[in-house]
């Protein structure tokens, strides 16, 4: 389509990355909730939770990483919504550029911001005793899954970013996503949950993703969980991408 897709997307991504470097508070507020939950569970609830062998921080870090991403993508919706309301979105759309670059720039910026947040959270986890002897390959696999999860949630975030009437409304959609890990195997083994809750917990996407990351970090065989996790990530990503593009087409028609 447009020969300028890459250069236009790069220019626009450079712009929105500056928004992050100039307001690092978006990274701080992204990581503060997951870090607080991590401290709360490790030092308050953790002693009462039986996860078998191994340290509790090792057990729950994967869930914390997913919460970090869920709270980080709220800012993607906020940044996009701000562009929509400010008129700069229309300026870009009226220019001879690759139009979809405007969305991709926000998606790539979301990826970078979330990776920074994830590194911060892992560093804090290391401080409070998280340890892993996982190989470089296992870490790369963990990174790959987290990137896929971030992309899937980011394309979901694009939809409220394009349609919300207010910036506050744009970020509100992320709250249910932040709570999803609590009803999963992220913090507590699912065995003790009552029937319907357990059924939900065992079959929602977070559990398979958490189990896969946990096994990779603990140098355990991952089993079929990794395929379920990848199927969820790719499936949600594909559906969210299509819906976001449809929303976008309707918005600019």
């Amino acid at each position: 389509m447009s020969t300028h897709f890459i250069s236009d997307t790069a220019a626009l991504t450079g712009r929105s990355l500056r928004h992050i470097t100039r307001s690092p508070d978006t990274i701080i507020t992204t990581v503060i909730t997951p870090i607080a939950i991590m401290l709360l569970f490790v030092y308050v609830f953790g002693g009462a939770i039986d996860t078998g062998s191994g340290s509790y921080v090792d057990y729950m870090l994967p869930g914390i990483l997913l919460i970090t991403i869920a709270s980080g993508i709220a800012y993607t919706a906020v940044r996009l919504c701000t562009d929509m309301q400010g008129g700069i979105f229309e300026r870009f759309q009226s220019m001879p550029i690759a139009r979809s670059g405007v969305l991709w720039a926000h998606v790539l910026t979301s990826l970078v911001a979330n990776l920074i947040s994830l590194v911060v959270v892992v560093l804090v986890a290391l401080l409070i005793g998280f340890r892993s002897g996982a190989s470089v390959t296992a870490w790369l696999a963990v990174g790959g899954i987290l990137i896929l999860f971030t992309l899937a949630l980011t394309w979901i975030a694009v939809i409220p970013g394009l349609t919300a009437k207010s910036v506050e409304g744009a970020s509100a959609f992320s709250y249910p996503l932040i709570f999803l890990p609590f009803i999963s195997a992220a913090f507590v083994p699912t065995d003790g949950m009552p029937g319907p809750v357990r059924a939900f917990a065992e079959h929602q996407p977070v559990t398979s993703i958490v189990n896969t990351i946990r096994d990779l970090l603990a140098q355990q065989p991952v089993g079929s969980d990794i395929w379920v996790a990848l199927a969820w990530c790719v499936g949600v990503l594909a559906v969210a991408y299509v819906l976001a593009r449809l929303t976008y087409q309707r918005k600019i028609a």
Binding site: L12, G14, R18, G86, S94, I97
Partner: protein
């Protein structure tokens, strides 16, 4: 499809219609804008001015009618239209977190021009923003923002510029700064379609004025032609009173010479 532009016309609109759900906003708009002229589309809030501009700048699709910009059809050749135009929106479309210079360089980069930095510097100079170049736009006054906005529209020298309510929300000095910038545009042969709800703005700037009312153009002509629509002026002698704007500007612009206590 080849460009079939009537000679001398930058914008040609025929029978443009647009509804939002039940609400008919445009009900058959016709207008022509000559190359190199300033054309004012005048109308009250909600008359549909912004809708016309959005259709002409390919942000909205019309329900019926045709619109040609620089000889290109907005419906079938939107990419060519976008190459030909620049849009300055109702709410200054600048990035408040970037500096003025970064805003300009970004647009230059998106227009695929060589040396975005020096293009930015030239425009900062021309719009008297050099001193504020490195500051975040969030710290700019309304007039400075709008000037930056117009400067961004000039990058790449598009032959046609749309200014959607360029002075709404500005203080009197800001308005005059923007008017000055708009008048200078036509020195370079740029065609300007501006929308406004201020009658004096159309009077000050426009070569031709059209009034959009209830989704149709009800009159279209030069200021002199529009004035002839009313009964001939009768001559009266009235003492020339300064307007409040004259007083305000005299006080604010020359505060020192009038002898304030500073």
């Amino acid at each position: 499809m080849p460009a079939n532009q009537s000679p001398g016309l930058a914008i040609e609109v025929q029978g443009l219609q647009k509804s939002f759900k039940e609400l008919e906003v445009l009900r058959g708009v016709d207008l022509d804008v000559a190359e190199g002229s300033i054309f004012a589309l005048l109308g009250s809030n909600g008359a549909g001015k912004t809708t016309v501009v959005k259709i002409l700048s390919t942000l909205l699709k019309a329900d019926a009618g045709t619109a040609g910009v620089n000889g290109f059809d907005v419906a079938t050749q939107p990419a060519n239209v976008r190459e030909s135009i620049s849009l300055t929106g109702q709410f200054a479309a600048v990035d408040p977190i970037l500096s003025g210079r970064e805003n300009l360089a970004l647009v230059a980069r998106l227009r695929h021009l060589q040396d975005p930095g020096s293009i930015a510097d030239d425009l900062l100079e021309r719009f008297a923003l050099t001193d504020a170049a490195a500051r975040k736009v969030a710290t700019y006054s309304g007039g400075m923002r709008r000037r930056l906005d117009i400067a961004m529209s000039l990058i790449g020298n598009p032959p046609i510029i749309f200014l959607d309510e360029p002075t709404t929300g500005l203080d009197p000095q800001g308005r005059i700064e923007v008017w000055q910038a708009v008048k200078e545009l036509t020195d370079t042969g740029t065609t300007v379609l501006l929308t406004t709800q201020y009658l004096d703005e159309a009077e000050q700037l426009a070569d031709r004025i059209a009034i959009l009312h209830q989704g149709r153009i009800i009159v279209n002509g030069t200021l002199a032609e529009l004035k002839q629509l009313l009964p001939p002026a009768k001559v009266e002698y009235v003492e020339k009173q300064p307007t409040l704007q004259d007083v305000f500007l005299a006080l604010v612009d020359d505060g020192r010479s009038i002898g304030t206590h500073n």
